[in-house]
């Protein structure tokens, strides 16, 4: 309270005390008084003085016990009959000094030529102090980056990555045959983490997978906003393919990382000159050499190079796309010339197309549906309108529709191609490649469904939880590495007898070659066939041991004169092994 205000109040109080005392003497208190008439002089409104601090001359509103009235008090409200005193109705006498009034006892200005009355200006009482204060509301929204929101989004991203790491780490077990094959080449462990073996390779895979998710967040943030980026990363992190790839010793994870890096670089260079897109080309070109299925997504990346070219709305965008396609194509050509064509990319098989598409729908359906919702929403409106005053420039409807269509359609490439080939090999991993492109739209979809200013966060939470549960269940179903520990333990004893001279026939020669690399040479392990191939092998009797994974004894080995059944080894844990056929080991008699 300023000194001036304080003065005014004090003055009024003093004045009113005097007036009140006079009034009490001259005329009793009125029965009812309107408070606005009694403004100065300790009127109690808003904040109050402490009880007991009431002083003579103060007004009091509300009910008061009879007999508590003190001299000089005014009272409004109900009053007991019989307490009325004469002089009632002389309220004018108590009217505050609305106009100037001479202070009694004040001397007139001696110097003045004319009479100058002394005025006391009573200032109106200031507004009571509020209990709390609303800070200045910045003209922004959640989607506007500032230091704090950047930190929050990084923190949330770290949590998402932790969840992803956890989902991968809960998968456990011995090497898959393909992992063992990947780890072994030329008879020794290969790869960057050769000494660390399976664990090291799987850890490296997880690192690439986490990197891919982080890059996906970055790309989505650049293309749309932070919220969509986090939602995209969250959705991608709980996919079965993500958890699986992160715990699978293969180059799939690296390939995904390279694709994500290319996508991020496309988004990063969207406002730069068309030539800047060349930075993304090496990453895109390397991806198919890590996992051949990545080649399917190079056209998508090229289209995205055009569509994301933000600044160039015409020829510049197509120049950007052309440059990207040419550079990537040239690098791939060089790669093929040096490294040879990756094999297996067009291998036909006999899997049912319908069942492959059905499985794909199970693995990626949730994310793709949300992505379609996002794409439709994006096509209809460029922004959610959280900040109508800061709309800025946005891509046009055609460009937005094309972006949504490209991203969503890319998710269908692997399922459709593999359904066409009738080859379901690693489809549960390959589906993650396409979803990498659809997930930004899914993130946008979640962001849109939650509404402006997180109006319906429960929708986002619901979708995330559904995707998490579905992803976890599917991963547990799919991630069933062979329970080979007992078989390896048994074969260790078998090969110990034969030394380096033995020759072994196995349904999973890679696994034996990898785990028993200290005892045998990979060349000693041969892939077992069935039917005539097995009959010939058994008849020849040239193998020292035969290891088959079979629910029952093949006819060739029933009552065989050369081989005797050494052991039938069933998976230790029937539940986690998911009905795996037992290992049956025959040795020479």
């Amino acid at each position: 309270m300023s000194g001036e205000q304080e003065y005014g109040l004090r003055h009024g109080q003093e004045y009113w005390q005097e007036r009140g005392a006079q009034a009490q003497q001259a005329a009793p208190a009125p029965q009812s008084q309107e408070s606005f008439l009694q403004y100065p002089g300790g009127q109690q409104s808003g904040y109050q003085q402490q009880p007991g601090q009431q002083q003579p001359g103060q007004q009091q509103s509300g009910y008061q016990q009879p007999g508590q009235q003190q001299p000089g008090q005014q009272q409004s409200g109900y009053q007991q009959p019989g307490q009325q005193q004469p002089g009632q109705g002389a309220w004018q006498q108590q009217y505050p000094p609305y106009t100037a009034q001479q202070v009694p006892g004040a001397e007139p200005d001696a110097d003045a030529d004319y009479y100058v009355p002394h005025y006391t200006v009573l200032e109106p009482e200031p507004e009571p102090e509020p209990g709390y204060v609303l800070p200045e509301v910045p003209v922004s929204a959640w989607s506007v980056d500032n230091s704090r929101s950047a930190w929050i989004s990084r923190g949330v991203l770290v949590l998402i990555l932790l969840v992803q790491a956890g989902l991968s780490y809960r998968l456990d077990g011995s090497a898959f045959a393909q992992e063992a094959k990947f780890l072994m080449s030329d008879g020794t462990l290969s790869g960057l983490l050769s000494d660390a073996g399976l664990t090291g390779a799987r850890t490296l895979s997880l690192a690439w997978a986490l990197g891919a998710t982080a890059l996906l967040f970055g790309a989505t943030r650049l293309l749309f906003n932070v919220r969509a980026g986090l939602a995209a990363a969250a959705m991608y992190s709980v996919l079965e393919s993500t958890a699986f790839t992160g715990r699978y010793a293969s180059l799939h994870s690296l390939s995904l990382f390279l694709l994500a890096a290319a996508l991020w670089l496309l988004a990063r260079t969207r406002q730069s000159s068309p030539a800047a897109v060349l930075v993304a080309a090496p990453f895109a070109a390397l991806a198919p050499f890590a996992a051949y299925s990545a080649a399917l997504y190079l056209p998508s990346l090229t289209v995205l190079a055009v569509l994301t070219a933000y600044r160039f709305r015409g020829a510049g965008a197509f120049v950007r796309g052309g440059l990207f396609a040419a550079a990537t194509g040239a690098l791939c050509f060089v790669g093929v010339a040096l490294h040879g064509m990756p094999h297996g990319w067009n291998a036909h098989a006999t899997d049912s197309a319908a069942s492959l598409l059905k499985e794909s729908a199970e693995w990626g359906g949730v994310v793709l549906s949300v992505a379609v919702i996002g794409a439709v929403g994006f096509a209809r409106r460029a922004r959610m309108g959280e900040m109508p005053w800061a709309e800025g420039s946005a891509p046009g409807t055609i460009r937005r529709s094309a972006l949504g269509l490209t991203m969503c359609a890319t998710a269908l490439l692997a399922p459709l191609y593999q359904a066409y080939l009738g080859n379901g090999s690693s489809l549960h991993l390959h589906i993650g490649f396409g979803l990498l492109f659809a997930v930004p739209m899914a993130g946008l979809g979640i962001s849109r469904m939650m509404g402006a200013h997180f109006r319906y966060p429960q929708i986002g939470i619901m979708i995330y939880v559904a995707a998490l549960v579905v992803g976890m269940a599917q991963t547990r179903e799919l991630y069933r590495p062979p329970d080979s520990a007992a078989m390896i333990g048994a074969l260790r004893e078998v090969v110990a007898e034969k030394g380096a001279k033995g020759s072994y026939l196995s349904d999973e020669p890679e696994i034996s070659a990898y785990y028993l690399r200290a005892h045998t040479d990979p060349g000693q392990w041969h892939l077992a066939g069935r039917g005539t191939a097995l009959t010939a092998a058994v008849k020849k009797g040239s193998y020292d041991a035969i290891v088959l994974r079979a629910a029952s004894v093949p006819d060739e080995l029933r009552g065989n004169a050369h081989y005797r059944l050494l052991a039938v080894l069933r998976p230790a844990d029937k539940d986690s092994a998911g009905g795996q056929a037992p290992y049956r080991i025959w040795v020479k008699r």
Partner: protein
């Protein structure tokens, strides 16, 4: 405010993940990799990583099996111990009889193995007939029996349908053809293989051909892949053959024409009488002398005659003297 809460939370979660991750690295993340290493003696994973009991070392032993069938064994090992005390040597094979339909005496097998021996089961298919066994209608029982044998994981010798060349058992020559016998045998063997009961020594045990010279053994032979030992049932009676060669020789020579599997005198005893001491000498001497004979199983039960060795002090003394030879008895390998 949010940053202050979120960042420590993220750090704590990261640390927790790191710790659990390290636990996985050092834990059983890759059981096969542990299995590929030589397990240490105190390793808890040792049992899980070891092969099921391999009977191969038992098939051609360096020393002779000394078996006994006594009442009450192998459910209790006391009668066996008492017999061991009587003859002065611990038997390493304990005979038992199991009717078709009975469960496998897993506890008995364990008892015998713990005493350093091998359970010998004579599996007697009184009912419902070998044709029923051969046609698969008894599969559930056979599988259950096999699973029980596999689970026990101790060596077991099984002799299915012994004395099949005689006419005195329902599965004998009177009611069953050799073809059915072989079919039933192979079927049982196959089911045991399916189940993974590899800890079985299969004993094909005809009666000595002397009382049934017209019955050829070869048609009853299931094949080398289905049999591990040839068991010969032949008692030393007061009226029968009195030398090792005359009692077992004709059978051994006939068997030798179609297989070279080791021979076990799988059920024998000497009838009390004047010749008993000489019979004991003939049996133990013959077993010791013949390299292809890997041992004998003494029927020490009073049944139709008092076959118990302790019923004849002189024969017992001879038995004790001969069985004391180092050639008889050994501890069955532990794994």
């Amino acid at each position: 405010m949010i940053r202050k809460t979120l960042l420590p939370l993220a750090l704590v979660l990261m640390a927790l993940t790191g710790v659990s991750g390290c636990g996985l690295f050092g834990g059983d993340g890759d059981p096969a990799a542990d299995a590929a290493r030589e397990p240490s003696a105190d390793s808890s994973a040792r049992a899980a990583q070891q092969l099921p009991y391999d009977v191969k070392p038992l098939l051609h032993p360096a020393k002779k099996y000394f078996g006994v069938a006594v009442d009450g064994a192998p459910s209790s090992m006391k009668p066996v111990d008492a017999f061991a005390k009587t003859v002065g040597k611990q038997p390493n094979m304990v005979g038992s009889y199991s009717s078709w339909g009975d469960g496998f005496n897993a506890e008995g097998a364990q008892n015998v193995f713990e005493d350093g021996g091998l359970l010998y089961v004579s599996w007697e298919p009184f009912k419902p007939g070998l044709d029923k066994i051969a046609d698969g209608s008894q599969d559930s029982y056979i599988k259950k029996f096999a699973a029980s044998v596999r689970k026990t994981d101790v060596p077991v010798a099984i002799s299915f349908g012994h004395e099949m060349n005689g006419h005195w058992y329902p599965w004998g020559t009177k009611d069953t053809t050799p073809r059915t016998f072989v079919k039933a045998w192979r079927h049982i063997h196959d089911l045991f293989q399916e189940e993974g009961a590899t800890n079985v020594v299969w004993v094909w045990s005809p009666n000595v051909v002397n009382p049934v010279p017209t019955v050829q053994l070869k048609p009853y032979w299931p094949g080398d892949a289905y049999v591990d030992w040839v068991g010969i049932v032949g008692y030393w009676t007061t009226t029968g053959a009195h030398t090792f060669d005359t009692l077992y020789g004709p059978t051994r020579r006939q068997v030798a024409t179609f297989t070279d599997k080791p021979v076990l005198i799988s059920e024998t005893a000497a009838e009390p009488g004047e010749r008993r001491r000489a019979d004991v000498r003939g049996l133990l001497g013959g077993v010791e002398e013949n390299e292809d004979v890997i041992g004998f199983l003494w029927f020490n039960i009073p049944k139709r005659a008092d076959w118990r060795i302790q019923s004849s002090p002189l024969a017992l003394a001879e038995f004790k003297r001969l069985i004391a030879d180092d050639a008889f008895g050994f501890e069955v390998p532990r794994s």
